[in-house]
Amino acid sequence: MGILDFLKRKPEPTATVAKERLRIIVAQERSTRGAPDYLPLMRNELLEVIKKYVNVDLDAININVERDSGHEVLELSVALPEGKSATP
């Protein structure tokens, strides 16, 4: 990128950045609201295990606690990086 491009490029308004960050974190916190306190720690440990096979970031792991009639379901999803094969 040339210096002119840099000058011409309009930075994204900070309010837009704030909104996007909040949208994500609020959704994540809502999905685990009232869930057991060990959840964040468990999420981290799961990440360590998954990392042995695939290179993913913490935010690729989504944990969701669903409550329906009497029992709770812990939902876990991992977004795998595109086209990347597992690291040995």
Binding site: P13, A15, K19, L22, I25, V26, R30
Partner: protein, 271 residues
């Protein structure tokens, strides 16, 4: 008749809870309601200053809870409205000075004394003090600033309000949640530097009951010990009047959320 309990809460500190509690209580009193406003911030008494009654505090909330004073002795009558009373926070450092039973008894006594509204000014945080302030509430005013940490904290608080209150525990129906956006600066919103009303509403999934602009008059009002709602000339005061009217069920359009357009004469002559 039982009193309606309104908690003013936020999670984050310094967002305008005490400013709002003082103006809300005063506004309800101006509407003819009998109102008590209670400072739940044990150890950090401030509402008395904002209400302008700091030199008349004899007994406080904890004295009443401990039976060292009656509620009648501890309530401070407002200078400006006969039907408005303040109950000051204790300056004790003992955070356990308030108990759930103690708070319940005080609220029941106020109810029996014919109060229409009790406004509970919550301390910051989600610890015991904040929990006690919200526990018995029928309505909540969640004060939020257009700023990332405040918005996130208010979402936390909205969650607690719908699960950790007596109404929620007893399945007595949800408490009414009012989102109040304060310290709003339309100029910065227009420049893309501040979250807009719509942004905050979308993120939290609830609409605002009012928008209070960032205003110099708030500091002036607290300097003088006069709730800003009594400052008729200030936009913040007028926005608080609108907000109280909405909480009482009136419909009013939002004001002061757009960049003020200069009047014709100002445009011609500047200024």
């Amino acid at each position: 008749m039982t009193a309606e309990i309104i908690v003013v809460t936020s999670g984050k500190g310094g967002v305008g809870k005490t400013t709002t509690s003082a103006s809300l209580a005063t506004g309800l009193a101006m509407a003819g309601k009998k109102v008590a406003v209670i400072d739940f911030d044990v150890g950090l008494r401030n509402l008395d200053l904002i209400m302008g009654c700091e030199r008349r505090v004899v007994y406080d909330f904890v004295n009443v809870v401990n039976g060292e004073a009656t509620i009648k002795q501890a309530l401070i009558k407002d200078k400006r409205h006969d039907n408005l009373f303040v109950l000051a926070a204790s300056q004790t450092r003992d955070k356990d000075a308030l108990t759930q039973e103690g708070v319940e008894k005080v609220l029941d006594d106020l109810s029996n004394d014919g109060f229409d509204y009790v406004v509970c000014d919550s301390p910051a945080g989600i610890e015991k003090g904040a929990h006690l302030a919200m526990y018995f509430a029928d309505h909540a005013v969640v004060v939020v600033n257009p700023e990332v940490s405040s918005v996130r904290d208010s979402d936390r608080i909205l969650g607690l309000l719908s699960s950790k209150t007596r109404r929620a525990e007893r399945g007595e129906g949800a408490i009414t949640q009012h989102l109040l956006l304060t310290r709003y600066n339309p100029g910065r919103v227009a420049l893309g530097e501040m979250l807009s009303v719509k942004d905050v509403e979308e993120i939290l999934g609830i609409s605002v009951v009012g928008v209070i602009p960032e205003s110099e008059n708030v500091l002036a009002a607290s300097n003088a010990g006069v709730p800003v709602i009594l400052d008729d000339n200030s936009h913040a005061g007028q926005a608080y009047r609108d907000t109280v009217a909405r909480i009482l069920g009136e419909e009013r359009p939002l004001r002061f959320t757009e960049v003020a357009r200069k009047g014709f004469l100002q445009r011609v002559f500047g200024g």
